[in-house]
């Protein structure tokens, strides 16, 4: 992973000192609430319903064991001993004290972490595929480009007061696991006709109040132009994005208003002045960025032996066998597998992880996975490089710690924002809905029979729980002070992206699990052979689901 040199460290240290001064001035009454707002947001600090929330950046979801131990330590010293993995791969503390946030940031800086631009109307943390570098369907590792974008966007002087927040995601594989169609800018590594790998650029995707799928602004861009091209897009957006209405301020609205062709033209015009300028990437810089993501010290393994042992273990222990099927994936190298640790055990808030679990993960990553851990936008954690022969031992430790719930990619692997229990933006609670659904569907055989299914819950229109792109999406809404839940169907965040359609009038909280049950039984009744929920929905449309969900009880 990327390692800071003295320059990176200096920038982060100076940022901590700056925020310490800003916080002191705020506490002394020298800065107004309104002036402090963007300053604290751009350091990840929200003032929430019950306490501040600090969102710590995890650039493209990659951490090492030292950082994990530091997070555990910080959560004990400054918080309540647990943290939350957000839907953009970041880590959130729910109960820090404002006065102590500069100290927390200083502690983070000692392990090359920060909270820069995890909120506010600026360029946010760049996200990517959680299986980057180990996926078997990868064209090229996207992380060097994520790191190049991270550096360029960090404390960018021109783009710190944009019309609205700005999110970039990069993907380098056949399957899109980074949801690039739903980002302000989505970047895909693609080959041109000559086989040379470059960048396909999408612009204007997003969730929130007006969900939109990104449009292609450039089919293939030479990698060296990455930063100047991004700069041109951002400059057009900064100058022309709407600022009169925060719900119409995202770049998707500008792209839609101008039309993608006119928008492209405006970008190209800006780009003419920037293209081939000093921000053009040098070959050396690309090589340097890639050097941080080289293969770890993989061993040449006796794969046949390891697989036959694994088969024996699976025969002996069906619970382990099931976990292998549900929570591990092919690695691009034989002899290794990718392991996803579920943070979706029933009874725990989706994405929450305790200090003890963080420390255990740090230890296990040191022993089994070269000391690296990834967070996912589905709010789980990943060990990317586990030897097949070590899987049984690893699983036993995870099982004992409650981190081996075998539900990755299934109904109960719910994406869920913190909702009304924590967030002051929320219209409704989301965590109790997640728990009620997990509790109702506790029969794993039924859950597996339903096949891969994404159920996403957001507590408000900001859509942090990505409800529009869940095959089943649930949105909390406020109706005259009462919490109701709107359900949408058919969303999809993969390359054949689609936005969920609203089923109909919203439901009361207590009815949601029953409604979900009705939707699922409708699918089970209508599906053909191995057809997935999404395919069935796409074939039959929303009406059969609607009829069943709103049918009067006999």
């Amino acid at each position: 992973m990327y390692v800071y040199d003295q320059h990176d460290q200096k920038i982060i240290d100076e940022r901590v000192a700056q925020f310490r001064d800003q916080t002191a001035r705020f506490l002394a009454g020298d800065i107004t609430d309104g002036e402090f707002l963007p300053l604290r947001l751009q350091n990840g600090l929200y003032l929430q319903r019950l306490a501040p929330m600090l969102r710590i950046a995890v650039p493209y979801g990659l951490m090492n064991s030292i950082q994990l131990r530091k997070l555990a330590d910080i959560s004990r010293t400054y918080d309540k001993g647990y943290v939350h993995i957000s839907t953009r791969q970041n880590v959130q503390l729910n109960w820090p004290l404002l006065e102590e946030v500069p100290d927390i940031l200083a502690e983070l800086a000692t392990v090359q972490m920060h909270a820069i631009q995890t909120s506010g109307n600026c360029i946010r943390n760049t996200t990517t595929d959680q299986f980057a570098g180990v996926a078997s369907d990868e064209l090229e590792d996207p992380r060097p480009y994520c790191e190049i974008i991270r550096q360029w966007s960090t404390l960018h002087p021109e783009f710190a007061f944009l019309p609205r927040k700005f999110k970039i995601a990069v993907c380098g594989s056949t399957q899109d696991r980074a949801a690039i169609h739903y980002h302000d800018i989505g970047i895909e590594l693609v080959a041109n006709d000559d086989g040379e790998i470059g960048l396909k650029i999408l612009v204007g995707g997003g969730l929130g109040r007006t969900p939109a799928i990104g449009s292609v602004i450039c089919e293939w861009l030479d990698k060296k132009h990455l930063l100047t091209y991004l700069e041109a897009i951002l400059r057009v957006y900064n100058q022309h994005g709407r600022r009169d209405n925060k719900y119409k301020a995202r770049i998707k609205i500008l792209v839609r208003a101008m039309g993608i062709d006119a928008f492209r033209e405006a970008v190209e015009e800006q780009w003419t002045a920037l293209k081939n300028g000093p921000s053009t990437l040098t070959e050396e810089e690309i090589i340097r960025a890639r050097s941080f993501f080289r293969d770890p010290a993989y061993q040449t393994l006796d794969t046949a032996l390891a697989i036959s042992q694994l088969e024996d273990d699976c025969m002996r222990d069906p619970i382990f066998a099931n976990w292998i099927t549900r929570n591990t994936q092919d690695h691009r190298l034989p002899g290794y597998r990718i392991v996803t640790l579920s943070l979706k055990a029933t009874g725990f808030a989706p994405g929450d992880i305790t200090a003890e679990q963080l420390e255990l993960l740090a230890e296990l990553s040191d022993v089994y996975a070269f000391g690296e851990i990834r967070s996912t936008h589905q709010q789980n954690m990943v060990l990317g490089d586990v030897q097949i022969s070590a899987l049984y031992a690893l699983w036993q430790r995870l099982q004992a710690a409650g981190l081996a719930t075998p539900n990755i990619g299934y109904l109960t692997d719910i994406i869920c924002c913190p909702g009304g229990d924590y967030c002051s933006l929320a219209n409704a609670k989301s965590l109790p809905i997640a728990e009620a659904i997990q509790t109702r569907f506790d029969d794993l055989d039924y859950v597996y029979d339903l096949g891969p299914l994404e159920l996403n819950i957001s507590g408000c229109m900001n859509a942090c729980g990505h409800h529009h792109v869940g095959q089943i999406g649930i949105l909390g809404v406020d109706k005259k002070g009462q919490e109701f839940y709107q359900i949408c169907l058919g969303g999809n965040q993969a390359k054949d992206a689609s936005i969920g359609k609203i089923l109909g009038p919203s439901f009361q909280q207590k009815d949601v699990p029953e409604v979900i049950d009705n939707i699922l039984s409708t699918y089970v009744t209508l599906r053909q052979e191995e057809e997935s929920f999404l395919d069935t929905y796409r074939r039959v449309g929303i009406h059969p689901f609607k009829e069943r969900a709103y049918a009067k009880a006999d």
Binding site: H7, W152, P157, F161, N238, R243, E285, R288
Partner: protein
């Protein structure tokens, strides 16, 4: 006389906004964009841009302008950051002044975008504001104050 920060120190300033009803500026008067566009002789002129008035209409006469003011009616409207950079990248060499309701915590960013003078709506704490210009001594990306990105300077 108003005080402002210019080239890193606090100075008195004689420039004044021109009366909106006048058409010919006296010396030391700053035109609004409409007035400036009407000027026959733009040599030695001063002009103030508001959000929504991008500087491209000045590009033909940047050499004639002595003072370009970019106003920030509210500090969260960041269009002026791009306007400044755009003007500098098109060769503007004169004084580039931020005026209005920006805050001292934005000074380093403003400076990086090419501003060299800062006229804050509240000029009572300019000494303290000066220290904010020194918040950062290293930067990742290219800007007007440092045209080379860090990746071309790393050692």
């Amino acid at each position: 006389m108003p005080r402002l920060i210019k080239h890193g120190s606090i100075i008195d300033d004689a420039w004044q906004l021109m009366d909106p009803d006048c058409t010919v500026p006296a010396p030391d008067q700053i035109c609004n964009l409409d007035q400036w566009l009407q000027l026959g002789d733009k040599n030695g002129s001063a002009v103030q841009l508001e959000p929504g008035q991008d500087p491209s209409c000045l590009f033909g006469a940047l050499e004639d302008i002595d003072l370009l003011v970019i106003n920030f009616p509210i500090f969260t409207d960041g269009r002026g950051f791009s306007y400044a950079r755009d003007a500098r990248e098109h060769g503007y060499q004169g004084e580039l002044r931020a005026s209005g309701h920006f805050i001292r915590d934005q000074l380093t960013y403003l400076q990086r975008c090419g501003f060299d003078a800062f006229q804050m709506a509240d000029d009572s704490h300019l000494d303290a504001a000066l220290t904010s210009l020194m918040d950062f001594t290293e930067h990742y990306q290219a800007a007007i104050d440092q045209p080379l990105p860090l990746f071309r300077r790393r050692s």
